[in-house]
Symmetry: C2
Subunit: 193 residues, 2 copies
């Protein structure tokens, strides 16, 4: 009995991710959202509630999309070490190509909001946990296959991988464009494997 929505909610969320990722939560105005999402004010508020709820949904989608992608890459590969290289080199390429250096939406949000917004803190904290688990499983698999050194515990390496990832995302956000810097960091990390 009703008119159907003319926009795709998921596509709108992707647009929201883009703008929030680029400008941050506080830096993005309601007008920015209207302009970038291509929705009217009324549709926007009717569909997503308010700015904070929209941000929450966007960050959740971002984490889910990325989590699934990395999880599948690591679970389906027969060579974990090689796949880790691919994942990190991709992050480097993204950081270098990024004309508007966005870094990582999750890292940005953690730094900007985690301590002031409980909802966001939960998402960030949960992301840390599940990413650590993905890396843990991957490292363990790699160690059992003899691709990764067993000199260090899998748990330790998993945390270390995640930390290095956060670091290079900060570098990227800070605008670092020297590939050698990233390569050095990756080379150092892979020395441990």
């Amino acid at each position: 009995m009703a008119r159907t929505k003319e926009f795709n909610e998921d596509q709108a969320l992707d647009k929201a991710i883009e703008i929030f990722w680029h400008k941050g939560y506080n830096g993005t105005s309601a007008q920015d959202l209207v302009t970038h999402l291509g929705l009217s004010r009324s549709s926007l508020y009717d569909t997503f509630g308010d700015k904070q709820k929209l941000f929450s949904k966007a960050l959740n989608k971002y984490q889910s999309d990325n989590y699934v992608k990395i999880k599948e890459l690591l679970e389906t590969t027969s060579n974990v070490k090689e796949t880790l290289t691919v994942i990190f080199k991709l992050a480097v390429v993204e950081s270098l190509e990024d004309r508007i250096t966005k870094g990582c939406f999750m890292v940005n949000s953690a730094v900007e909001l985690a301590m002031h917004d409980e909802e966001i803190a939960k998402i960030v904290s949960s992301n840390q946990k599940v990413m650590e688990e993905v890396f843990y499983a991957a490292v363990k698999k790699g160690q059992e296959a003899g691709q990764i050194s067993t000199k260090n515990e899998a748990r330790l390496l998993a945390r270390f991988i995640f930390n290095t990832y956060s670091g290079i995302r900060v570098l990227a956000r800070a605008g670092e464009k020297d590939k050698q810097v990233y390569d050095d960091i990756l080379k150092a990390m892979f020395t441990l494997f």
Copy 2:
């Protein structure tokens, strides 16, 4: 022929560092500054210009204070590896004790502002350079003294140290309070030395 300032500009800057560090640039209002610095609006604007200039000065002071501290620690020590341990363990203790998890003012500012504010971008970028040099000199000294392995180049290790530092500061900002996580990361890093 004039009345002297009743407040110490450096102390006021320290207060500004505190509040900006805690709430970020966009999250800190002019009222927050008036309240926290204990100055009147007029004095604040007469002394520091505007919010952006005050932030700039605060961030510069923060970087200078920290840079000098770490530089001296590393230059005067006879055991570089040990001093690096001290520096990183201190960062961990700070992260754990921090009731209001502030992370690192420089990392926070890099993530929030570097891509939108050229002035801040310069400070962040300069900080990266000089910190890398400090770590580079330290690693080189440590390698010559036989305290640090020469298996990896000093430049590479310096960049890697800085990156790991950024990472744990993000962790701290995200509210991580499990000491074991930090210890694992440090242990992994020190494996390379």
